[in-house]
């Protein structure tokens, strides 16, 4: 009789567990090997606590989430999020990316167009660069401050609190994007998804893109960096943290990890 530890299910299961773990860990190691693809210096403005709906005390891990924004067409400011209509993600850009809205039947009304399926592309994140400066200049425009009551408050938020991390471009060729955005300290390339949308505007079809998400945007804070997050931990679940600064590296597979995290004096 074959002993239990020599039977095929046992051997197959052990091999499956070991091989799967080796592949996953090998991939993580490969991502972090060599010089990072890019390295961004961020603050609590760009990294929010991802508490994921856990009740206090149920999840002891501490996770930070990248909070990129898009400069939106026709909007004053949006603190976080990329769900709106990015000003650069127009019909021409969608053609370049090969993402099309589908017309259900030729000659149909505009309403018969539908959204596309979300496609995987490379997205370019820009930290504290021209996109943020444009947004800041637009928000804090003296004429607007004089005209609108709430503009001063939003200008103040834009200057001190809103994320400075902007998604500024997308492409299918990672190397071409890196050539175009060569400053690895300001620009990171990540995997993300874009969906094309068709809308009727003045009776004409207008296509634009919507960013559906980043493939990898959460980072676990290792215990060695926890001390810097003490203020944040004491207010878990609020998504607010004490001031800190962090360096986030993006590896060969464009997956992020925290390289450095330290507390920072409060500006005000």
């Amino acid at each position: 009789v074959t002993p239990w530890y020599r039977r095929w299910p046992f051997l197959a299961g052990i091999v499956l567990i070991l091989v799967t773990n080796a592949v996953v860990l090998g991939g993580a190691l490969y991502n972090r090997s060599g010089e990072p693809e890019s390295r961004l210096n961020l603050m609590e403005r760009e990294l929010q606590v991802a508490y994921g709906g856990w009740r206090p005390g149920e999840n002891s891990a501490f996770t930070l989430r990248l909070e990129p924004r898009v400069a939106q067409r026709g909007h004053l400011a949006n603190r976080v999020g990329y769900g709106g209509e990015a000003d650069w993600l127009d019909g021409a850009k969608l053609d370049e990316l090969g993402i099309q809205v589908r017309q259900r039947s030729p000659g149909d009304e505009l309403s018969t167009y539908s959204t596309s399926i979300p496609a995987d592309v490379f997205l370019v994140l820009e930290m504290n660069g021209p996109a943020y400066r444009r947004q800041l200049a637009d928000t804090c425009d003296p004429a607007r401050l004089a005209r609108e009551e709430r503009a001063k408050r939003i200008c103040d938020e834009e200057t001190h609190r809103f994320s400075r991390l902007f998604i500024v471009d997308a492409g299918l060729d990672r190397a071409a994007l890196r050539t175009k955005y060569s400053d690895a300290g300001m620009y990171a390339i990540v995997h993300g998804q874009i969906q094309a949308v068709a809308a009727s505007e003045d009776g004409r079809l207008r296509r634009y893109g919507r960013i559906r998400g980043l493939s990898s945007e959460d980072m676990q804070v290792p215990p060695s960096m926890r001390a810097a997050m003490a203020a944040a931990q004491s207010r878990r679940g609020t998504r607010s943290t004490g001031p800190f600064e962090a360096t986030v590296a993006f590896g060969r597979r464009l997956e992020p990890w925290l390289v450095r995290l330290s507390a920072r004096a409060r500006e005000d």
Binding site: L18, A28, N59, R104, S105, I117, Q193, S216, P223
Partner: protein, 356 residues
Amino acid sequence: MTTRLEAQARVDQVQAFRRELQLLESGGHVELSAEQRQAIEAHHAALSRELTLAFDVDPDARSRQLSLGMRIASFLGALSLAASVFFLFYRFWGELTVGAQVSVLVVASLLTFVFTVWLRTRDFAGYFTKLAAFVSFCCFVLNISMLGQIFSITPSPNAFLVWAAFALILAYSLDMRLLLVAGIACIVAFVAARCGTWAGMYWVHFGERPENFFPAALLLLLASHFIDHRRLDGFAATYRVFGLLTVFGPILVLGNWGEGSYLLSDVDLIEGGYQIAGFVAAALTIWFGVRHGLSDVINTGITFFVILLYTKFYDWWWEIMPKYLFFLVAGLTAILFLFVLRRLRGAGKLAMTEAA
């Protein structure tokens, strides 16, 4: 005799023989001599004892009822223990270094799996083994998904493939339908995600085009037909039922949400097409089930036929009919269904009589 299923069938046969003999004797159709009766009873008693010891089968109806209770307790225990492992890890993993987290995850997968396979040799009825197997599966799922979180790894549909493989190894070696269902769910997710990727979609969104599920359904139905499951209790039926669910679920969705289809046509046309396809497929399923004597197929077909029908009733009449009339029509339809099924049942009986 090598499996518990075969042993249980043998014991059931003995029970049926005893009941039938009792009826024959009370009707005066047969009369055994005392020696014959003693010889048969001694043989059956020895056989039952031997099979109960070797395979932990249920020798009588009372034992069978208790076994059902144990199966339910084992199922609930498996779910609860798996949830406990999940929450236990989340409760403490943040306190561990990355090295310790990885070690705990890998070792937990290995240890629970080794323990499950070892327990199998001690627990022939399998109640405790099945419980341990489900915890082992949960540990492996946790293992891979948590490594993904720890290292911010881009999610991949391949995870479903390895989870499916692990679940199927446990299901087939332990004759465990709960893990077969888990394995089937992972296969469906993997195949649907891959189909979505081939269509140009980022895999996470595979549910946004329900047609992605059809190839998985076909695979499951082929598996139920071509893989020999005679030695495994209820496996073929599980494949059939989940294959049919994977067909009818998306049809039901697309019959009411044509925008979700890959087809480039008018939305109303797509919805109408899927509604007709749903009725035809449900009717064919019932016919196939009746023809091959597969009660699970018949029941799944009937269930979806009724759901599709009631969905249409709702679309057509809910707004315009008084509620009492709407439910009267629904009730009368159910009665009509009973008549149709009784006819089918009668036809089946007639076929059996003629065959006899």
